[in-house]
């Protein structure tokens, strides 16, 4: 792998709630290189989104606090930057695409004003050159008749088109790292396929490092080079996509793969994961997945498993894989 664009080292983000301190992100480490896509998979509350927000330092304050760790973007630690410096990094170096395009777009400004804003800020363009560049960006995300669309308002566009506008704003710089947090969850299937193809194309053109947050394993199989599976704030397994799908090491990953219905493989019953997702405020000692795990052992309930290498670039946190 080339030099990583983003390297997260032992990141801890805590949330202070009425029910006590919740370790939303509990010692997460990973890195993503140029033109590489890392998939972040997990259920709601597993810490995927909180990890992404920690990278751009936009965790909801005052409840959430990044307690320790390092977030290295091209070698410089973002956690050591001042708030002013962070403002120059967000959007310019690290861009985000969120699930709901309307949370990124302002309903009272035209598309043109919103796309021109980052272009003017990053490249200092003015006047006609600015308008041309904005239209080019809309064309780059395959919006038909871009010049006319610049005058439209977000409510006049379909969901797919809005998400394309957000994509255009995200690549305005272009950034080094693109964080896509469930970007296609609100889109229809055929539109989702178009948008995923577009993201791939943008990534190749700008050599973007990409963190792709999703719970859809089909998207992971299609989009990602490596996958990190999160459970209760920790990465429980990380490895190359093919290996994770063909030889999942952690019982949670395996159960996730088996619980998803597949086309063409009709079974009487799906293999369900017992129990409920964990309550982060009341985590058991030891491995957080132990209460739902099919392979649980005595040790799992007392001691949290360390990261254990399964093969090159493939690691898991599970006592099953501890070398004898």
């Amino acid at each position: 792998m080339a030099v990583p664009v983003i390297e997260v080292k032992d990141l801890h983000t805590h949330l202070v709630t009425r029910w006590g301190t919740v370790k939303a992100v509990d010692g997460v480490s990973f890195s993503v290189g140029e033109s590489e896509t890392l998939g972040l998979v997990g259920e709601s509350g597993s810490g995927k989104s909180m990890t992404c927000l920690s990278i751009v330092r936009l965790v909801p304050r005052p409840a959430a606090r990044i307690v320790s760790g390092e977030v290295l973007l091209d070698g410089e630690d973002l956690l050591a930057r001042s708030e002013r410096e962070m403002q120059r990094i967000r959007g310019r170096k690290v861009a985000m695409i969120l699930q709901d395009p309307m949370s990124s777009l302002n309903p009272v400004f035209s598309v043109g004003m919103q796309v021109r804003e980052p272009v003017a800020a990053y490249h200092g363009l003015r006047g006609r050159a600015l308008g041309r560049r904005a239209a080019e960006l809309l064309a780059a995300v395959k919006i038909p008749s871009p010049a006319a669309r610049l005058r439209a308002f977000p409510h006049q566009l379909s969901g797919g088109m809005r998400q394309r506008v957000v994509g255009a704003m995200a690549i305005a710089a272009p950034p080094r790292l693109l964080i896509a947090d469930e970007p296609t969850t609100s889109l229809d299937l055929t539109i989702q396929a178009q948008y995923l193809a577009l993201l791939k194309e943008l990534q190749e053109r700008h050599r973007l490092a990409m963190i792709f947050v999703t719970h859809n394993l089909g998207i992971v199989a299609r989009m990602c080079d490596r996958v990190a599976v999160m459970y209760a704030g920790r990465i429980v397994e990380m490895g190359p996509v093919r290996e994770l799908f063909t030889a999942p090491a952690h019982p949670y990953t395996r159960a996730l793969m088996e619980s998803v219905p597949r086309l063409g493989a009709r079974r009487e019953l799906l293999t369900a994961i017992d129990g409920q997702p964990p309550d982060l405020a009341k985590l058991p000692p030891g491995c957080a997945f132990a209460p739902r795990c099919a392979n649980v052992m005595e040790r799992c309930r007392v001691e949290a498993p360390p990261e254990i290498a399964v093969s090159a670039g493939h690691a898991t946190r599970c006592w099953l894989h501890v070398p004898a």
Binding site: E43, S44, S158, G160, M161, D188, L189, T190, I191, Q192, A193, Q194, A197, H215, N216, L217, G218, I219, A221, R222, V241, R242, F245, T246, A255, L256, M257, S259, V260, P261, R262, L263, G264, R266, R267, E268, L269, L270, T271, A272, I273, D274, Q276, P277, R292
Partner: protein
């Protein structure tokens, strides 16, 4: 690879539910003053039948008319034209007693169990509500029935004393299912029953629904956008596009060998959970047109990779091709 159990129809030949030429148009005000109106053809002359103890999966993108269809069947909307026959009787022209009977026999489970359960009612009261309204059972009998229902959906009996907020999403959906089953319905409309749930919980609920169908012989109208889940749950699949059924047939046939270009595109876009699977990149261009002004002829023709000149002028009818019904000029 065993398909779900099929039950023989009690009155031989009569389907549980038969929908023919069902149409629902909504008037929409247009223009600055809202003086002119146009029609949205939300559901346009669709027909299908559902046999007792089986599942019909209804798939399609947003705006295709799935939810309007379910509302028509639940009696929440009145059809513009066409007929819904339940056990042979036309639902629209039922008298008050017949209508009450129909409402008892057809129940629903919705997508969001956080919205469909009253936060101020105890679970016992929620599940018992249909019994209070529709039956003469006394308090003791109702409590016994509630306990039986909770057991059926895999919740402990003490759940009846708790409030909905004390349950997770998957458990709440179990409560909603228990309520839907309280009156022993013959048909349950499942409108996206697992989309709001966590991935690890979805399989539990899908398994529960399959198990209940086997034990109780209830029929499902299953509406979802997760195609693999629909294929897993259904005996028959109907694919809708802009208010029309474009393909309808045996679930395996439709899912594994789709014929209509739209169905093919849809199933190709439903990414398989497989790193080595064939990558059939049939990306359809463009977006779903506005149902206010649907395209002439075949409604899919502007996006169709196989469009021919007469697709723009002539509307294809549903014809039998490869063991299923397809509305496409290719066949």
């Amino acid at each position: 690879m065993s398909p779900p159990e099929r039950r023989a129809s009690p009155a031989a030949g009569t389907p549980l539910l038969e929908v023919s030429d069902l149409t629902k148009h909504f008037p929409v005000r247009r223009g600055a003053l809202g003086w002119s109106t146009t029609l949205v053809r939300a559901v346009d002359s669709i027909s299908f039948r559902l046999e007792p103890g089986t599942t019909l999966g209804l798939v399609g993108e947003s705006g295709c008319g799935k939810t309007t269809t379910s509302k028509l069947i639940l009696g929440l909307e009145r059809p513009t034209s066409g007929a819904i026959r339940f056990e042979g009787d036309d639902v629209v022209s039922l008298d008050a007693a017949g209508r009450r009977h129909y409402r008892r026999a057809v129940q629903a489970v919705f997508q969001d169990p956080y919205a469909s359960l009253d936060p101020r009612m105890r679970v016992g009261a929620i599940v018992a509500e249909p019994l209070v309204i529709n039956t003469e059972l006394d308090g003791g009998a109702r409590r016994r029935r509630v306990a039986e229902l909770l057991d059926l959906v895999g919740l402990p009996a003490r759940a009846a004393e708790l409030f909905p907020h004390e349950f997770s999403g998957g458990q709440r959906q179990r409560i909603a299912i228990a309520r839907a089953l309280a009156l022993s319905p013959k048909l349950v409309v499942l409108d996206e029953p697992v989309s709001a749930l966590d991935v690890s919980i979805r399989a539990q609920i899908l398994n529960l629904l399959r198990d209940l169908q086997k034990r109780l012989g209830v029929s499902y109208l299953f509406i979802a956008h997760d195609l693999a889940a629909v294929a897993h749950m259904s005996h028959t699949i109907a694919v809708m596009y802009l208010g029309k059924i474009v393909e309808c047939g045996d679930a395996d046939a439709v899912a594994l060998a789709p014929q209509h270009p739209y169905t093919r595109a849809l199933f190709a876009a439903a990414l398989p959970v497989d790193v080595d699977g064939k990558r059939d990149e049939t990306l359809v261009a463009g977006e779903v047109p506005s149902p206010l002004a649907p395209p002439s002829g075949c409604r899919f023709h502007p996006r169709c990779p196989h469009a021919m000149p007469h697709c723009a002028t002539e509307e294809p009818t549903l014809r039998t091709a490869a063991d299923r019904l397809v509305a496409c000029h290719l066949y």
